[in-house]
């Protein structure tokens, strides 16, 4: 980067700086407490800014050891001596931490201790520059607290969400299981004799269940090589035209496969409904009840039911 020196030659100024001017600067800077320590760490000079920041007047503090500025626990831990040693060895030592005012209140300070040596390298003392950063520290802490708080809130929220998610999932699982159980229950296909099935239906048949019933029935015909199926609808409270139609289609499909379906247990109400709907149900084989249906199926299969009367022990 170009400086004024590059463009216009040596910088000239009318101000002649004296040691007194430097002293004025140090004395008048308000934000920094700038003072000197002797090689052992005793206060050797004081300024108004130092008085303002730390609360001590010059006559109260000059000749006191640097450790009065530190909290007791730091003094006990040997911090003042360590800082002086650090500055002596490395030329400077910087620290940020709690310091104590005259009235005992604490403030957050940025402290730089600089070793001062003469031209032969002998330690003449230390320069100490302190700045009160309490405000900044408080703002930072506040910011950190707010951030932690919001982070915690987010975590709580997430945990809450996870929990409700988990319970939802559990509910869903339970529901699926229940649905599966109901599905298995809703269309029980029972083989009663060789090649004879019964299908007792209970409860309302909606279109979903009707479709399932068809699949189950036609599949079972194949599995059991059934020649006759008795479908008992005693337990079905309502049969509307859609269900009746579906039942009829299933019977037809079974017939195409070479199996006869006998529908039993049609209540007087349902019978009237079916007639009123006007579906052609003449091809559907029906019997009053399950017993009649079984007899018809057995007859078709060539079974003969013979009643045997046992007259007690013979021989």
């Amino acid at each position: 980067m170009a400086s004024r020196a590059d463009e216009q030659g040596p910088v000239s100024t009318t101000m002649r700086v004296t040691d007194q001017d430097i002293h004025l600067l140090i004395e008048n800077v308000q934000d920094y407490a700038i003072f000197l320590l002797d090689p052992e760490g005793y206060v050797a000079s004081w300024t108004r800014a130092a008085e303002h920041i730390k609360g001590y007047k010059a006559e109260e503090i000059i000749g006191k050891h640097l450790s009065v500025f530190y909290p007791p626990e730091d003094v006990e831990a040997g911090k003042p001596a360590r800082e002086l040693k650090g500055a002596a060895e490395q030329g400077r030592y910087e620290d940020e931490g709690w310091r104590v005012r005259k009235d005992g209140s604490r403030f957050w300070a940025n402290v730089v201790i600089t070793a001062l040596r003469d031209e032969r390298g002998r330690l003449k003392g230390f320069g100490k520059v302190s700045r009160d950063l309490t405000e900044r520290k408080r703002a930072e802490d506040e910011l950190r607290r707010l951030r932690d708080e919001s982070e915690q809130r987010v975590q709580e929220r997430t945990a809450e969400l996870n929990k409700s998610n988990e319970s939802l999932r559990a509910e869903l699982r339970a529901r699926q299981q229940a649905e599966e159980a109901i599905r298995a229950l809703s269309t029980p296909v029972l083989p009663v004799r060789d090649r004879l099935l019964i299908l007792p239906l209970i409860g309302v048949i909606d279109s979903h269940r009707a479709l399932q019933l068809t699949e189950q029935l036609l599949g079972s015909i194949r599995t059991y090589r059934a020649k006759a199926v008795v479908v008992d609808i005693t337990g079905v409270p309502i049969v509307d035209s859609r269900v009746a139609n579906h039942l009829l289609q299933t019977v037809e499909a079974a017939r195409l496969m070479g199996t006869s379906v006998i529908v039993t247990g049609i209540s007087p109400e349902i019978a009237q409904t079916l007639v009123r709907i006007g579906l052609d149900l003449s091809r559907m084989k029906t019997r009053t009840d399950l017993m009649g249906g079984l007899e018809e199926a057995e007859h078709q299969l060539g079974y003969h039911v013979v009643s045997v009367r046992d007259a007690g022990p013979s021989l």
């Binding site: 699949e215 036609l218 015909i221 289609q249 037809e252 499909a253 195409l256 070479g258 199996t259």
Partner: protein
Amino acid sequence: MAVPVLKQGETLIATIPSTVTDADWRRLQDELLERVGRLRCNGMVLDVSDLDVLDSFATRVLRMIVDAAHLRGAEAVLVGIQPEVAFAMVQLGLTARFEGVSTALDLEEGLALLARRDRRGEGGGDRER
């Protein structure tokens, strides 16, 4: 592709492969109706268990074979219609074509059905509704 036709006693057995084409159907129709007379058969089993679908054309041909065989003195039985095929046919309204056509679960059942009818002396002409 030719459809294999076997003769078992007085019964013709045709097993229709899943790859059957419309032309195959027509050839099969002619062949079956010709053989029924030549071989003096009184029964016929049409096995469709390999078929995943029975469309309008196939059902029409099958119905034609069944009715024409009846006129030639042979009882035809349709066997092995798959559950999905059966239900699809019902939903497509194709079942009317098979009204009055004898059906059985599989080849064995079909042969048993024909045998039963033979014993009862009903062979040939009469068909079950």
